[in-house]
């Protein structure tokens, strides 16, 4: 059987199953948590944090080896990465608030300095006798090779914990993201909410290091949220849709990477998330590009049809090729441009509607109803038959019929 299919259906063996389930939970947690970062417009802070994990990984390895232990203990490495990621986060926060640096500049500074330090530490570790087989470079791009049950449990447990906290804090985090000033005024502690959000993102980043890697984890935080934005206009729904997108990407990415040796897991997960994003960008029913183009085209067609009918009713020549095409398509004019019987009837009706709207504006001071005039809405969709009859009487008095 096809190895990819086996992996997707959890038949590729114990280890692959473990990885796929762990990656799915990580993806859900990353998608949901990252949504708040995106809504708060601070998505790139997570990138600085992710790159700041690298020196922590190196230092934790060195410390564990120096203490005579196995340098590859995942919990130890993740703890170390969390420490430097936290320092990086506080660094960005401090630079932004206390200096004249803007947040993007602070992010760039912290990201590059910490990453540089991390690379230096990695190089030193390579020269250590115990460092050669450490496999720490897999933290850059993620790997599922040789993952242990305890690793998978750590990742899954961390992901579930992050999800629970997101659910608990969703209300204050949404309020702060939408309107921090108002949130503060009703008593939400904006600073603590922001820090909690950052800590959550840091937690997801750290547990995602093993599978996705620190360079690309930011994509798993951001892409699901922007994908979900195409499907909903509500923050609460957006968070869970993003979780779904992240979960699918994590699961499928881990399966694909398990089906072929040497495929790095992180990039595959990110590419699958990006594919979901592209599908949403083009084909989402409300906000997708295709839907928008179709809507616009349809609207344009209606405008031209109406305009053409009004021109026919006034016996004016029509030159606009699109108007002519629409009228011909609907059988309102013949090939030579002369109105058909139906075209003449509809033109007369359009002209009558316009006159009735004029009467409506004379008679009705209710702007809510008059305001529904857009040249396209049929008048009987707005006014009742007896109101329209009143317009006709008004027009008759004015001698306009």
């Amino acid at each position: 059987m096809n190895p990819l299919w086996e992996a997707l259906t959890l038949q590729a063996g114990y280890n692959a199953t473990l990885v796929a389930v762990g990656a799915a939970l990580l993806g859900i947690a990353a998608g949901a948590t990252g949504s708040f970062m995106v809504l708060r417009k601070r998505a790139l802070v997570s990138d600085a944090m992710a790159h700041a994990t690298l020196p922590g990984v190196g230092l934790a390895f060195m410390l564990m080896v120096a203490l005579g232990g196995d340098g590859r203990n995942l919990v130890g490495l993740l703890t170390g990465s969390a420490v430097t990621a936290g320092i990086g986060l506080l660094g960005v926060d401090w630079l932004t608030r206390r200096t004249r640096l803007a947040e993007d500049a602070a992010i760039g500074s912290i990201l590059s300095v910490f990453f540089g330090l991390g690379i230096v530490l990695m190089t030193i570790i390579q020269t250590m006798s115990s460092g050669r087989q450490a496999g720490l470079e897999s933290f850059l791009l993620g790997s599922t090779a040789g993952m242990l049950l305890s690793d998978a449990i750590t990742i899954a447990g961390g992901g579930a914990l992050a999800l629970g906290l997101v659910w608990l804090l969703r209300r204050p985090m949404t309020m702060v993201a939408f309107d921090a000033g108002y949130a503060q005024a009703v008593g939400v502690d904006v600073r603590r909410t922001d820090l909690a959000m950052m800590a959550l993102v840091m937690g997801v980043t750290v547990i995602g290091l093993k599978i996705v890697g620190l360079i690309l984890i930011v994509a798993l935080l951001i892409i699901p949220a922007v994908t979900a934005r195409f499907w909903t206009d509500r923050a609460e729904a957006l968070v869970w849709i993003a979780g779904g997108v992240g979960g699918v990407a994590g699961y499928a990415g881990a399966a694909v990477s398990a089906s072929a040796p040497d495929l790095p897991t992180g990039p595959i997960i990110v590419l699958i998330a990006a594919a979901l994003f592209l599908v949403s960008l083009f084909f989402a029913p409300l906000r997708g590009v295709v839907a928008a183009v179709l809507r616009h085209h349809h609207f344009q067609g209606r405008v031209h049809r109406r305009q053409g009918l009004l021109s026919l009713s006034r016996a004016e020549p029509i030159h606009d090729p699109m108007t002519l095409r629409v009228l011909r398509r609907d059988g309102l004019i013949r090939a030579d441009g002369v109105a058909t019987d139906r075209g003449a009837a509809e033109a007369a009706r359009a002209a009558r509607d316009e006159r009735r709207w004029t009467a409506a504006r004379d008679l009705h001071q209710d702007t809510a109803l008059i305001g529904r005039y857009d040249g396209l809405t049929a008048i009987d969709a707005v006014f009742t038959p007896d109101q329209i009859a009143a317009f006709d009487r008004h027009l008759g008095r004015e001698g306009m019929i």
């Binding site: 417009k41 804090l169 000033g181 503060q184 005024a185 009703v186 702007t367």
Partner: protein, 287 residues
């Protein structure tokens, strides 16, 4: 009485706090600064309970800053704030804030009804479920500002005036006693301005207190009963008839307001005040 005299009078409380009733909002010695330049400096202000008070002053005078700092939205260098005689932190539930419309991203994924439900945050807490009663309350608040038909709209589809009404509905949902509004009439259509002032006057009739940052000098006398003139420092404060005079305006705006513009406001010099100024009308040099 000179503007300085008015400020002095306000400071010892005789003008601003009649009777023993605690003011709705009391600010003492508040200074806020961006970098090294004070945006507002050592402002003492009392906003009377049950009144509608306008905060008036030129651009950059610190009007919005005063509100935001009083609420803790931005940090203050110094100053004490109390609400109905108790520290703000214990009285947050009694205060509703309507921020400037431009302060949020209107493309944010949220619907009108969701924004109004944010006003129930204190009631709902972290975990409380949004029940039918909460929804009904939010819808009633939307009805009060004439926005019932828009409950399910994404907020980005609203006009500026409609956005302002939604913000007001969110504040109404809090069922507060003190309403602080930051430029509620900025960039809204005339119908919205009328609707908002109607809601605010109803609040006042119910005994609530209203404080609004206001930039349109022409409507101060019509909309408000008290005024605080601010230009980094407090220039004058009190009932509109006494504190809103050509002299105090000139002191507030300096050369930025031509005397012809002040004349257009048709303010009295003590005589011929727009509303019955009462026996204590002492504004202006004639008095």
């Amino acid at each position: 009485m000179t503007p300085a005299d008015l400020a002095l009078a306000a400071k010892d409380g005789t003008v601003l706090t009649p009777a023993a009733e605690a003011p709705a909002l009391s600010i003492r010695g508040m200074t806020v600064s961006y970098a090294e330049k004070p945006a507002i400096f050592s402002v003492d202000a009392d906003f009377a309970a049950g009144a509608m008070t306008a905060i008036v002053g030129p651009n950059g005078a610190g009007k919005s800053t005063l509100l935001k700092a009083a609420l803790g939205v931005i940090p203050r260098l110094s100053g004490e704030v109390s609400v109905f005689g108790t520290p703000l932190e214990t009285a947050r539930a009694r205060v509703a804030y309507v921020p400037q419309r431009a302060s949020v991203d209107w493309d944010f994924p949220t619907r009108v009804i969701d924004v109004v439900l944010m006003g129930l945050y204190r009631e709902l807490g972290l975990l409380g479920r949004v029940r039918a009663a909460h929804r009904a309350k939010a819808e009633a608040c939307l009805a009060r500002v004439g926005m019932s038909d828009f409950a399910a709209r994404q907020i980005g589809q609203l006009s500026g005036g409609q956005q302002q009404r939604v913000f007001l509905a969110r504040a109404l949902a809090q069922e507060a006693d003190l309403y602080l509004l930051d430029e509620p009439f900025a960039g809204v259509d005339a119908a919205t301005e009328a609707a908002i002032i109607e809601v605010l006057k109803t609040l006042k009739d119910q005994g609530k207190s209203v404080v609004a940052v206001h930039h349109d000098l022409a409507t101060v006398t019509r909309y408000f009963d008290r005024v605080l003139l601010l230009n980094v420092r407090k220039i004058a404060a009190g009932p509109v008839a006494q504190a809103f005079t050509p002299q105090t305006l000139a002191a507030t705006y300096g050369g930025r307001l031509a005397s012809a513009q002040i004349d257009q406001l048709r303010l009295g010099d003590g005589a011929g005040l727009p509303t019955g100024a009462g026996p204590e009308a002492g504004a202006g040099p004639k008095a």
